[in-house]
């Protein structure tokens, strides 16, 4: 499967930097382009980790929710208990894994607001959220524009 996704992203960055960047040098578009290329490079490095991350997060979030079922109101506990019955999406389907992630995290949002903040279940969820933040594969790439106007020599 050539060019691979990585090769295509690398090549796109090269073309943007070698061909497009000189044409927009000194304009606001240059800053925007710089930010986009940095982001593409981040994606080139990190995209292979996205699907494994989603599987890890889906499995861990489901487990955290199951453990929390006794700490939330009955109507929520019943929805959590049906998680086991939900069909497992195709493990190679990124879109399905993402949809499952949204569904689980929506339930987690409800659960964490419905329980006592001093409970072990709450601490369990917070620990999971901290771990998730540490594993999250996509990172913002600093691309701070020079924010303000050129000085006027006669000011």
């Amino acid at each position: 499967m050539r060019p691979t996704i990585g090769e295509q992203l690398d090549g796109t960055c090269r073309v943007l930097e070698a061909v497009v960047a000189p044409e927009v040098a000194g304009t606001p578009a240059a800053d925007v382009l710089n930010g986009l290329v940095k982001n593409l490079r981040m994606l080139r490095t990190n995209w292979p980790a996205v699907l494994p991350f989603l599987h890890w997060d889906n499995e861990t979030t489901a487990a955290v929710l199951m453990r929390s079922a006794s700490s939330v109101p009955d109507h929520l506990a019943r929805r959590i208990e049906t998680l086991d019955a939900d069909p497992t999406p195709d493990i190679l389907d990124v879109v399905a894994a993402q949809e499952r992630n949204d569904e689980l995290r929506a339930l987690l949002s409800e659960a964490v607001l419905a329980m006592d903040t001093a409970s072990a279940a709450h601490a369990d969820i917070v620990a999971h959220l901290v771990a998730r933040a540490g594993r999250y594969p996509l990172r913002s790439v600093p691309a701070v524009p020079r924010p303000h106007p050129a000085p006027d020599p006669s000011c």
């Binding site: 964490v112 933040a133 020079r146 050129a150």
Partner: protein
């Protein structure tokens, strides 16, 4: 050297550029309507400048004659883009800038406003251009240590000056709502509404933190003018002094610890602090000495957490606008803020 570089890179005119031509035409119409006595009105050097995550910046000079004499003024137009990191109201920003003109606070004089964007294409402000350079990390730049420390203190003095503004006397309460003791809750309401508007996916992390913030919010002891995004990245430095504080778009009336919480926020330490010289304890001590007000550590930490949470919502606004096709900067889920917030909350709970 840096200044020359900024002139060369930021002020490149785009002769023949259609956008510049259209902007020049709109600007001339707009300014002519506001200077009916002006003769020989000329706009020169119009160029869109680099930078700015939330606004388009256009610099130019305007010259004209009128019965008062001859004028030649460097100006900047700041225009709302289709989308961005912040959704704010130009009318409020204009009112703040006009009010600040009679105070010692270094802020750019605002000349005109196109409130609804009917004249300039989108809501805009035209301000006088102030000399100076912007450097987000000036406190950790290559300037000598003593200069950086003096600048840090200069920033704090400016913060205190903003808090000393007699906002009632200046009539600012006509433009900005005074939340009174409910300042913290009012800010949570404002930014929670923004979170609900922009979140593209469930974010339980922000729900956990929001709940903690709601449960631990304290009443404001008094009300001050809050800048709302007080940082070196929003200031111009001329020589070794701050020449002006920019970006008043999030200014509001609120709690005196809000801006202090923003600058003592551990996540932004590289922008606001100098390791070993100007850290949280130094800033708080200097603030207390300058204002005569003590600072409650727990209360300040609440505002530190709020700063991160608000910043996370702002990042989500940027993501929302990028996905909607109205913003050109890509952001990712603000996970680095999640860890910082949950760590601070955990420390507070363990006290």
């Amino acid at each position: 050297m840096a200044r020359r570089a900024m002139e060369a890179e930021d002020s490149v005119s785009l002769p023949g550029n259609r956008a510049n031509g259209e902007m020049a035409r709109l600007l001339e119409q707009f300014i002519r309507a506001r200077l009916p006595a002006a003769e020989d009105l000329r706009l020169e050097g119009l160029a869109r400048t680099s930078g700015g995550l939330s606004r388009e910046n256009w610099v130019f000079r305007a010259s004209w004659r009128d019965p008062a004499g001859t004028h030649d003024v460097p100006l900047i137009l700041r225009r709302d883009p289709a989308g961005g990191l912040l959704v704010t109201v130009r009318r409020e920003e204009f009112a703040v800038l006009k009010a600040l003109e009679s105070t010692p606070v270094a802020a750019p004089p605002a000349l005109w406003i196109d409130d609804d964007g009917s004249a300039l294409g989108s809501p805009s402000l035209i301000m006088r251009r102030i000399n100076g350079e912007c450097d987000w990390f000036v406190l950790n730049s290559e300037r000598p240590e003593a200069v950086r420390l003096a600048l840090a203190y200069n920033f704090l003095e400016l913060l205190v000056q903003i808090q000393e503004v007699d906002w009632r006397g200046l009539g600012l309460d006509a433009a900005l709502k005074d939340p009174g003791p409910d300042a913290a809750s009012a800010e949570l309401d404002r930014w929670e509404a923004e979170l609900r508007r922009v979140a593209l996916e469930p974010v339980p992390e922000l729900e956990v933190v929001l709940r903690w913030l709601r449960e631990h919010a304290r009443p404001a002891r008094w009300t001050v003018l809050v800048h709302g995004d007080f940082k070196p990245g929003n200031a111009l430095v001329d020589g070794d002094r701050i020449s002006t504080m920019l970006d008043w778009e999030t200014a509001h009336l609120g709690d005196p610890l809000e801006d202090l919480g923003w600058i003592t926020n551990p996540v932004r330490a590289r922008e606001h602090q100098i390791q070993g010289l100007w850290e949280r304890a130094d800033i708080v001590a200097a603030y207390s000495a300058a204002t005569g007000h003590s600072v409650d550590e727990e209360e300040l930490t609440w505002w530190n957490v709020f700063s991160c949470w608000k910043l996370a919502v702002i990042v989500l606004t940027g993501i929302h606008a990028f996905v909607a096709g109205t913003f050109d900067w890509v952001h990712q889920s603000p996970t680095w803020l999640v860890r910082a917030m949950l760590r601070m909350i955990d420390s507070e709970e363990s006290r």
